[in-house]
Amino acid sequence: MTPRMCRVLRTRRETRDTYTLELSPPDGADGFRFAPGQFNMLYAFGAGEVPVSISGDPAKPNSLIHTIREVGTVTRAMRELKAGAVLGIRGPFGSAWPAKEAMGHDVVIVAGGIGLAPLRPALYAILANRQKYARVVLMYGTRTPEDILFRKELERWRARLDLSVHVTVDRAMAEWRGSVGVVTTIIPRARFDPRNAIILVCGPEIMMRFTIAEFEKRDVRLDQIYISTERNMKCAIGLCGHCQLGPAFICKDGPVFRYDRIQPFFEIREI
C-alpha cells in the first residue's frame, strides 16, 4: 500500500475543469504496463490520494497519461502541478475493457463527459489492431462545445475512413455547427449489428442508464454491453470496504463490468 514516486513530464489544460498529467513510470520501473480501463491511485504529497483512470495508450508504457476532472481538494491540488513535480502512484488496479473479446465484432463506444478519458485507451487498443474488428463507432456527448475533450484527436479520428465519430452537446451557442441533444439522440446514427456488437459505455450514471435503455430498445443483449463504474475508494485493493456496489468491489471486480453481471444491483437506488 505504499506509493512509488513518479514525475510529471507534461501537463495540459483540456477544458475549464479538466486537465491531463503525463507521468514518468515510477522510479526504477521499465515502462508502466496497464490494460485499457484500469486506474491508478495518485498521491499528492500531504493532500491525499485519488483514483484516476489511465487515459493514455497502452502501447506507450513510458508515457503514463491521466485526464483528471477537478472535483475536490486533491484534484485541485494536482491541477497546480508543473513539469518536474513529483507524485506518488499505486497501480494499476481494476478490470479492463474487453478489447480481446470484442475482436471480430462491431464495437460501439459511447462516452459521456469525462467518460471519454477511461474509454480512450480502449479505442487506442482497437485502432492498433483495427483489422481484427468489424465496424467501430465512437459516440461522444458532453455539456457544451467548450467541454469537449481531446478535440483535435476527435477531429483526426473523424477523418479516418475506418471509424465513425459522432459528437453531440447538451447545448451550444451560435458557433457550434454540430448536433445538439443528449447522447441517446445520436445513437440512431450508429451503424452496427445489434446481434453481435459489443458496446462500451462510460459517463455519469444517469447517462449510462439511458444509453443502455436505448441499446436495449435496439435488441442488444445486456451481455453485449460493458460499463465502467465509480465509487468512493481508499485502498484500491479490496480491503477498506468503501467501493462496494452490492457484492462487487469496484476496485477489483470492476470498474469495468459486463452489464448483465452487475445489472441487478446497478439499478437499485442508493445501493
Binding site: 500500500m1 505504499t2 491525499g48 465509487r231 485493493i237 477498506c240 468503501h242 457484492p247 439499478e267 437499485i268
Partner: protein
C-alpha cells in the same frame, strides 16, 4: 454442536491458572484478556489471573448491558462485551507509511511489522469464528493486509467454551458455537462445582501443547469431561435468539425494496456503534497529514463505518445519503453480499450489535420481519420502484 472426535483432555486447576499466564509471559507473549473497566468487561493487557473478573456476569438485551455479581467465583462466567479481538489484530489507528519531500523527490518509508506477539485469553467461539472471517478478508490473494497477517501469525489463542448464553447471543443458529471447534491453541471449559474449580482443557495445536505441557495439569476423567459437555449444552439451550439463515442471501438480494428498511431507518440513529463492536466489520479509511514545514507527510489508517456520510462520498454527494440506504448496506453486506465476497457469512451471532445499539435494533428480528412479509413480487428489478 455435534460431538467431535475427542482428543485427550486435561484438567487445569484454578489455582494453577496463573502458571499459564507466567509461561506465556516467559515465552515473550503480551497477555490480553478480560477485565472490568467503566462498568463493562473489556479486553486489555493482563499480568495476572487475579485481574480477571472473578464472580461477575453480564446481563444483556437490546440496548442494555449491566454487570452483575454471580454467586460463585467463576473467572469467565460472562459473555462478550463491547470489545472484540479485532482491535488487536487490526488496530483502530495505524500508520501506513511516512514520506519525506527533499530535493524535489519523495522518499517513501514503509512501516515495520509488529514483532510483539500476543496471547488472547478467553476467546469465545463466536470471536474465534470472527477472527477466521477477518482472516478471509485480510489474508488475501491479491493484496494481503501485511501487518494483520504478521500479527495473526504470532497470536496465541486460549479459547473459552461458554457455560451460559448471553442475553443477545445467537451463535447456535449461525452454526458456530458455543463449543470452540477450531482456530485455538488451547480451549478451556470452566467448571465451578461446590468446592471444585477447574478447567477442562483441549489442546488445539502443537504450539498450544508446547505451552500447556509446561503448566501443572492432569488427565481429565470421563465425569469431568461430561461436566464440560453439560456446561456447553446448557449454554446452547439458553440461546434467547436465533437467526434463520435459510437462503438468507437470496432473501436479502430479492428484498432491497422491502418496506421494512423504512421501518428500521426510522429507528436507526446511524451512530455506527454496531460497526465498532462487530468483530468482523473491517471498513477503514485513510488520513493524510503533513507537518507544518510541509516536508514530511504520513498516511494513517483508521476504522471507518458504512454508516457515515463520508463512506460513500463521490464528487459532490454520497451514494448512500439516506439512513435507510446505510442501514441496508450494513445488514445486506453482513448477511448476504459477504457470502459472495468471502464464502462465509459475515455474522457470527455474538449479539454485540443488539446489545450496543442505543435503540436496541435486533438484526435477527429484522431478518425475520423481512422473511415473514416478503412481497409477492420477487424480481430484484422491482426493488428500485420502492420508496426512496
Amino acid at each position: 454442536m455435534a460431538a467431535l472426535s475427542r482428543d485427550p483432555e486435561y484438567i487445569l486447576e484454578r489455582k494453577d491458572l496463573q502458571k499459564l499466564f507466567d509461561t506465556l509471559t516467559a515465552n515473550g507473549y503480551r497477555i490480553i484478556g478480560p477485565r472490568i473497566h467503566d462498568g463493562a468487561i473489556i479486553y486489555d493487557n493482563l499480568l495476572s489471573a487475579e485481574e480477571l473478573p472473578a464472580g461477575w456476569t453480564d446481563e444483556q438485551d437490546g440496548g442494555r448491558y449491566r454487570l452483575k455479581k454471580r454467586g460463585d467465583g467463576a473467572l469467565f462466567g460472562y459473555n462478550v462485551g463491547p470489545h472484540s479481538w479485532k482491535q488487536f489484530l487490526f488496530p483502530p489507528r495505524s500508520r501506513l507509511f511516512q514520506v519525506d519531500k527533499q530535493d524535489g523527490k519523495l522518499q517513501f518509508k514503509e512501516e515495520p511489522v509488529e514483532t510483539q506477539k500476543m496471547a488472547f485469553i478467553g476467546v469465545r467461539s463466536c470471536d474465534l469464528h470472527a477472527i477466521a472471517v477477518q482472516d478471509r478478508v485480510f489474508i488475501h490473494p491479491i493484496a494481503p493486509n501485511v501487518s494483520y497477517q504478521f500479527r495473526r501469525a504470532q497470536t496465541f489463542i486460549v479459547a473459552i467454551n461458554c457455560g451460559q448464553a448471553g442475553g443477545t447471543c445467537f451463535c447456535v443458529s449461525m452454526g458456530i458455537g458455543p463449543r470452540a471447534d477450531a482456530g485455538f491453541d488451547i480451549a478451556m471449559t470452566e467448571i465451578v462445582n461446590g468446592g471444585q474449580h477447574y478447567f477442562v482443557v483441549e489442546v488445539g495445536t502443537e504450539g498450544g501443547r508446547a505451552i500447556f505441557l509446561q503448566v501443572p495439569h492432569r488427565s481429565a476423567g470421563p465425569e469431568e469431561m461430561a461436566q464440560a459437555d453439560r456446561a456447553i449444552s446448557t449454554a446452547a439451550a439458553q440461546m434467547g435468539r436465533k437467526m434463520d439463515t435459510t437462503n438468507i442471501k437470496e432473501l436479502l438480494y430479492k428484498n432491497y425494496g422491502h418496506p421494512r428498511w423504512d421501518n428500521v431507518a426510522a429507528r436507526c440513529l446511524t451512530c455506527a456503534n454496531c460497526t465498532m463492536v462487530c468483530p468482523t466489520c473491517f471498513c477503514s479509511t485513510v488520513e493524510d497529514v503533513t507537518n507544518l514545514k510541509g516536508d514530511h507527510a504520513e498516511r494513517w489508517q483508521r476504522w471507518d463505518s458504512c454508516f457515515t456520510m463520508d463512506h460513500s462520498y463521490i464528487h459532490g454527494g454520497s451514494v448512500r445519503a439516506s439512513t435507510k440506504a446505510r442501514y441496508r448496506q450494513w445488514m445486506t453486506h453482513k448477511l448476504a453480499t459477504w457470502i459472495d465476497q468471502f464464502g462465509t457469512s459475515g455474522c457470527v451471532g455474538c449479539g454485540r450489535c443488539i446489545t450496543w445499539c442505543p435503540v436496541g435494533i435486533d438484526i435477527t428480528e429484522e431478518v425475520r420481519a423481512i422473511r415473514e412479509t416478503e412481497p409477492l413480487s420477487t424480481e430484484l428489478q422491482e426493488a428500485h420502484h420502492g420508496d426512496t
